[in-house]
């Protein structure tokens, strides 16, 4: 007791402060809230480090892993299909993420104009995101874009010839990109919440000063919403780099036609479980982590230029 008071006079000056044992309840509830994460973590942490080790080995699932150093990483650079999977994933990400964020922001702004029955519209627009990665939706997508599907029927109305959206290597990825753009619901809901945070007095003041809608959007909405845009951008980039289900279901697990939907994670899966190259697959997983970390880091650097925080 004396030791404490010597070390920390503030304690003796504040006799009402509760003793240390009484403090944790607050902490405890905090830990309770993240308990599910800890439990999940226990299942992730071992595979996490195991895969790091396996990335440096030649491991075929059946025999003991064999240390080969950086060979797996070197092999990626001479693997044409690996490059193809990087290309597919990059095109998919860099085309669909900006477009889906733009769509999300656009719809959020429309819904923010005080429409009646907002929750209903919000739910309708959010629905596709709930289903976006689901097997049923991807299969449905195949029918919509099928040779005799409604998209071709619609185009046929304008005299455009039938396009084989799903089996032509030139169009298959486009079809999946459109699917991704359509599932803009979760960033939209976050944008909507962000838009509601912007005080209406800014717009009133701007309107009095004679700013038109476009100027208001550029000078008020975008800067004040920039932290939200940044958050959505990072989220979408990361999840888009990790796309698997869409490619797997769309191509029946093959990444076809002609590897045009061979997403990075799909190729990783095929290497690990079909070709028994689990060491190579682990190395690919870590390479993806590096790629994602690099793009996230780059975005944080660039963010200094365009993201404005309130304080």
């Amino acid at each position: 007791m004396t030791l404490t008071s010597v070390k920390d006079p503030a304690v003796s000056e504040a006799p009402v402060s509760p003793p240390k044992a009484a403090k944790p309840p607050q902490d405890r509830s905090g830990y309770l809230f993240i308990l599910p994460w800890f439990i999940g973590m226990a299942f992730t942490i071992i595979p996490f480090f195991a895969s790091l080790y396996l990335a440096f080995t030649d491991y075929n699932l059946l025999n003991v892993p064999n240390w080969i150093g950086l060979e797996n990483f070197a092999e990626m650079f001479s693997d044409d299909t690996w490059w193809q999977s990087v290309k597919v994933t990059f095109i998919y990400t860099f085309v669909s993420v900006p477009l889906s964020l733009a769509a999300a922001l656009g719809v959020a702004m429309l819904l923010n104009r005080g429409v009646r029955g907002l929750p209903v519209y919000r739910a309708i627009f959010y629905l596709p995101s709930l289903l976006g990665g689901s097997v049923a939706l991807v299969l449905l997508w195949r029918y919509i874009f099928g040779l005799n599907g409604i998209v071709n029927a619609f185009l046929g109305f304008f005299g455009i010839d039938k396009i084989s959206w799903t089996s032509d290597p030139d169009h298959a990825l486009t079809t999946l990109i459109i699917l991704h753009i359509w599932t803009f619901g979760s960033p939209m809901v976050i944008f909507l919440a962000g838009l509601k945070q912007i005080p209406s007095m800014y717009y009133e003041a701007a309107a009095i000063d004679g700013a038109n809608k476009w100027q208001q959007f550029r000078k008020i909405t975008l800067p004040l919403l920039s932290p939200i845009i940044f958050f959505n951008l990072i989220q979408s980039l990361i999840s888009s780099f990790q796309t698997f289900t869409q490619g797997f279901i769309f191509s029946g697990g093959k990444g076809g036609p002609a590897n045009s939907t061979m997403f990075y994670n799909l190729y990783l899966y095929k290497q690990g479980f079909e070709q028994f190259h689990m060491g190579y697959a682990s190395a690919m997983a870590w390479m993806l982590l590096i790629i994602i970390a690099a793009f996230t880091g780059l975005n944080f650097l660039l963010a200094k230029r365009w993201v404005h925080y309130d304080n």
Binding site: N63, R142, S164, S167, G252, F273
Partner: protein, 427 residues
């Protein structure tokens, strides 16, 4: 569908954990020996398999057999994972194209080291030769099949086209036949659809040209010229009209009811012979089963008797003796095979095949006759695919649509396949 299968797998995995780790089976409280047996298939096959297993358990009261089944895709992943986790099943359906991935790594029981329990004397020559890896035998075919050619007679009759002689027709005859159907139907029905990317189709053509898909020392044995001709043949048919235009094929499912012959937009195609009943059911019931084109005029026979899968036993099984007993039962017991029918193909034992034939449905009898007939002929056997063969299948699947859409010439595609094959087999 896939997600359901995955969830089922998860449930089963949890159940498997509950039974305790190691070996897959274990002694239950009652002192009974538990065997774990896994296979892929559908509910229909599950019903038939369970009926056979019930007979086994009745005859062997000391043994309980637990089964798990899934779709073939998730099955493959699950099996690999169970082996990796040191918890393999006792008896399993082993894909022929994965056989050497497991066998070469000493994960499967060599049946030659455990003779005396499984009676192999009645296996046909073709069945016995299928499973040899060097001097070892890592399983017994769960059923035999071969590819055959089906023609929808209703459509042919409707447009007044005559069916060629299935024993002597050539690939050129197929092209002429297919074009005639397309022309006479005004493109309502296309004459034929053969997937150039399916290894089981390619291997027949390759053998007809006098080449082996894989050489004795495990190399890719197909020449660039043969592969080019293979791709060119279908592109020519596409140009003439016998083959549907580029982009026509969209279905990803491989079940008979998803096929274009079931939809009536294709008049003929290649199928695995054990699928004849299924295809006939969904295509109006008037299919005719022919041989593969080119067999009579080729340098040598191309059609080969194969098996989609073996019954194999894990080397790490804790109850190899009981697993072998079960294997013997599945291969040689007539009643068990009557219960199972030919869902996995024609039984590998000729005695069993003859005994169950009268009990089969008419369409299954047609397919069985086709296979029994083939077994009496001199065919060129195809040994188990070497490790890395799935890489070749992947490359074929990747280049075929590029040829279809004119992004690669047949010669360029052939070159790419050979490059990929050489690389896949050297790893």
């Amino acid at each position: 569908m896939l997600r359901t299968a995955g969830l089922t797998g998860l449930g089963l995995a949890v159940a498997a954990c509950g039974r305790g780790f190691g070996g897959g089976g274990s002694e239950a409280a009652s002192g009974k020996i538990e065997l774990n047996m896994v296979w892929w298939g559908d509910a229909f096959r599950a019903q038939k398999t369970q009926a056979a297993l019930d007979l086994f358990m009745k005859a062997n009261p000391g043994i309980t057999v637990n089964t798990e089944y899934q779709d073939s895709g998730p099955y493959k992943d699950k099996l690999a994972t169970r082996f990796a986790a040191g918890n393999p099943p006792d008896l399993m359906m082993m894909r022929m194209d994965s056989l050497r991935e497991y066998a070469d790594r000493k994960s499967l029981l060599n049946l030659n080291d455990h003779t005396g329990i499984v009676d192999t004397t009645n296996l046909s020559q073709a069945a016995a030769s299928l499973t040899k890896v060097g001097d070892a035998v890592y399983g017994i075919p769960s059923g035999l099949n071969a590819i055959g050619y089906i023609v929808n007679k209703t459509i042919i009759d409707q447009y007044g086209v005559t069916i060629p002689d299935g024993a002597t027709w050539t690939w050129q005859d197929l092209a002429t036949f297919a074009k005639e159907i397309t022309d006479k139907s005004g493109k309502k029905v296309y004459g034929t659809l053969v997937d150039p990317a399916t290894l089981a189709n390619l291997v027949v053509y390759v053998s007809q040209q006098g080449e082996d898909l894989f050489t004795a020392d495990g190399k890719f044995g197909v020449s660039e010229a043969t592969l080019t001709k293979w791709f060119q043949m279908f592109e020519d048919m596409r140009k003439e009209g016998g083959f549907p235009p580029a982009g026509f094929v969209e279905t990803i499912g491989s079940s008979p009811d998803q096929s274009y012959i079931a939809k009536g937009s294709i008049a003929s195609q290649i199928i695995p012979s054990n699928g004849f009943l299924g295809y006939n059911k969904v295509s109006g019931g008037n299919l005719v089963l022919l041989g593969i084109p080119g067999e009579a005029t080729a340098k040598r026979r191309g059609t080969n008797i194969g098996t989609p899968a073996l019954w194999s036993i894990a080397a790490a099984s804790k109850h190899p003796k009981e697993a072998l007993q079960l294997l013997d039962f599945l291969i040689n017991d007539v009643e068990a095979n009557k219960a199972m029918g030919t869902t996995r193909g024609v039984p590998a034992s000729t005695v069993v095949a003859d005994a169950i034939k009268p009990t089969l449905e008419k369409d299954d009898q047609v397919a069985t006759d086709y296979l029994i007939g083939l077994q009496k002929q001199t065919l060129v056997a195809v040994p188990p695919y070497p490790k890395g063969a799935s890489g070749i299948q992947d490359e074929l699947t990747a280049v075929a649509p590029e040829v279809e859409h004119g992004r690669l010439t047949p010669a360029e595609a052939a070159k790419k396949v050979i490059e990929a094959a050489t690389k896949a087999l050297s790893q």
